[in-house]
Subunit: 410 residues, 2 copies
Amino acid sequence: MRVEILCTGDEILTGKTINTNYSHIARRLGEVGLDVVWGTVVGDDRDSLLAAFRLAGGRADAVIVNGGLGPTVDDLSQEVAAEACGVPLVLSEYWLQRMTESYARRGRVMPANNKKQAMLPEGAEFIDNPIGTACGFAVTIGKARFLFTPGVPREMRRMLDEQVIPRLLALGGITGVSRLKRFHSFGIGESRADEMLAGIPGLAIDGEIKLGFQAHFPQLETKLAVRGADEADLVARLAPVEAEVRRRLGNFVVAEDEQTLEGEVMHKLLALGQTLAVAETFTGGNIAARLAPLAGAETVFKRGVVTRTLPTEGASAQAAIEAAAALRRESRASQALAVLVQLDDGPDRPDFGATIAIGIADASGTVSRQARMVGGRDWVRVGATELALDCLRRHLFGLPVDERIDFERR
Amino acid sequence: MRVEILCTGDEILTGKTINTNYSHIARRLGEVGLDVVWGTVVGDDRDSLLAAFRLAGGRADAVIVNGGLGPTVDDLSQEVAAEACGVPLVLSEYWLQRMTESYARRGRVMPANNKKQAMLPEGAEFIDNPIGTACGFAVTIGKARFLFTPGVPREMRRMLDEQVIPRLLALGGITGVSRLKRFHSFGIGESRADEMLAGIPGLAIDGEIKLGFQAHFPQLETKLAVRGADEADLVARLAPVEAEVRRRLGNFVVAEDEQTLEGEVMHKLLALGQTLAVAETFTGGNIAARLAPLAGAETVFKRGVVTRTLPTEGASAQAAIEAAAALRRESRASQALAVLVQLDDGPDRPDFGATIAIGIADASGTVSRQARMVGGRDWVRVGATELALDCLRRHLFGLPVDERIDFERR
């Protein structure tokens, strides 16, 4: 099935707003096995919209239209859809009542111009928006089914998952349920992860369980998209593959699904009833900034110290251990993490590097990790932050802290 | 002149990469007075590319194509352009030699597949890429001039400004020079800034000097796009308007052009020969993280402290002053900044708020600023970080620290 995405709106067309809606829709469709073959961006302009509808209607089987469902005069999607279908706009009494009630519940009167949002092309299929005033709808233009969604990301995302994707799967004769299992790792690049997962039965880019990667620098997300006849069938297919992926990626997996690296560290500290103090040099508050806002940090996070001054011996393992031990004594935290970064001399360049020394002290003693990273000042900062959090995670979970990662040079 | 943007590549089409190249190109064109009227995304697919070239060639006067100029087999732009023009690909001896020399200078031999990048449609206009192996080119397809640019953002951006935009301006019969003057402000929203700048002669969204805004949460960027016959003419037009904008936005302007808020704070501290210590609560290292990486921070930034514990009286002005004074005594820094954030009780919601107290201590005494912000935990954190840095800037530059901003509630 050929699916197209058509994004409307001057903010998108002029580049003022980056088109993250497009990439979200395309990614989600790919994850459920639907392929996007064409993307179009047009502004809030009647002629362009009509031309774009007709072109896409001649090419595609299904078109997701995003935007142009608002209450103002430059929101043209319903009007132009009606024109393309050769039908009038008619009032959806149902949606008008839903909007009126929704305003009433918040003690407000619905502004008159919202009525426009209940005007749909005659014969259109209604698509519910449970969290906004812009309802969706579907019509057929040319040989394609057009599904209209609002531009507000939160509303679009929910409607895409709950309303649009099920309709597209039905259109394409794809039945059953789907799930996306995600692993977040640190320390391995996409090509190494691909190698580590080679040969798992049923798992491939075009396999029964679709394998995908997305780099969220410096983390890598490994995604398994799976379909099943029903929930039991899906679990039966996914479970062995999921377990094998987890085993192969091993200690590099820092979190799964909605979890985060810093969240896992925080949960473990809470579970152990321990507290934490952090001393940072070049990472300048970035480690503290990841931990301090989390729920539970009030209890766990005792102290963060940011300084630019390295010990005289630089970023050695010994210096990091001593810094961690001193921080633990001063702060009286259960765990003390010290991160020393010694930058190379010279100007910032793509091959600019640094030596990173990480020390952790707790009641049982101290551990250290030293690594050399190159890639410019910003990458060193980001890499050192992630490495430090990951060392702490590994230490707390009883894993080796000195496993070689792809991003270091020796 | 009708300009279109055509982005190619599976990574963009499938949403794996967010299409920031599109928004950059569209914004830059808008800033020099060129209007983008249509955007297209297609994958690394011969049929789609050819169809997209023909459609755009029938609609537009000029088309910027981005991507598909790499050395691998899925890079199809030159091939399909030649097909659309009905001409063969021919080797550019000039570009082949440039590439070979560039590899030789780095002591490397050019891989054989790079030769593909010197194959251009016969009769194509060469467009230089001074920093990469993917040269650009221009051909005419249908009624439109097509300008091909590489997908690597750094290369595309430089070629767009130096090579593509001048050609487009010439095509559109637009002569002279252009400049974009930028003001970065904190504390005013887009609609208020628009009001503050109302009535300046020659300055409007469609005026002689084009006014534009872009929100970089929580900062606002105010942009003046100006054209002139030559540099002297441009300066003569811009100078009085620029001065008036600076006067009207007044103390809210935190930086201009390439400057940043934290950079201005750092420069001032360096110029004064002063040092700084920062104590943060809920902003958890974010303030330190903005300052610590800057050039000169080695000298200026004495100490950052992150804690979750508020003084017993909460985020009062008095508590912030006392915390700043204590920090100054302990750290012996010239300037001490203390930021106390007292969150409301209850779950995170869009109207979740906090009271923020900022204290600054230096040799001349102490100042404080208290504000109430709502908008959820993340917004409070971002807002408090910006407010604290802005208070420090205002204090260092002798400006009032307690000017009301749009983002606070009273």
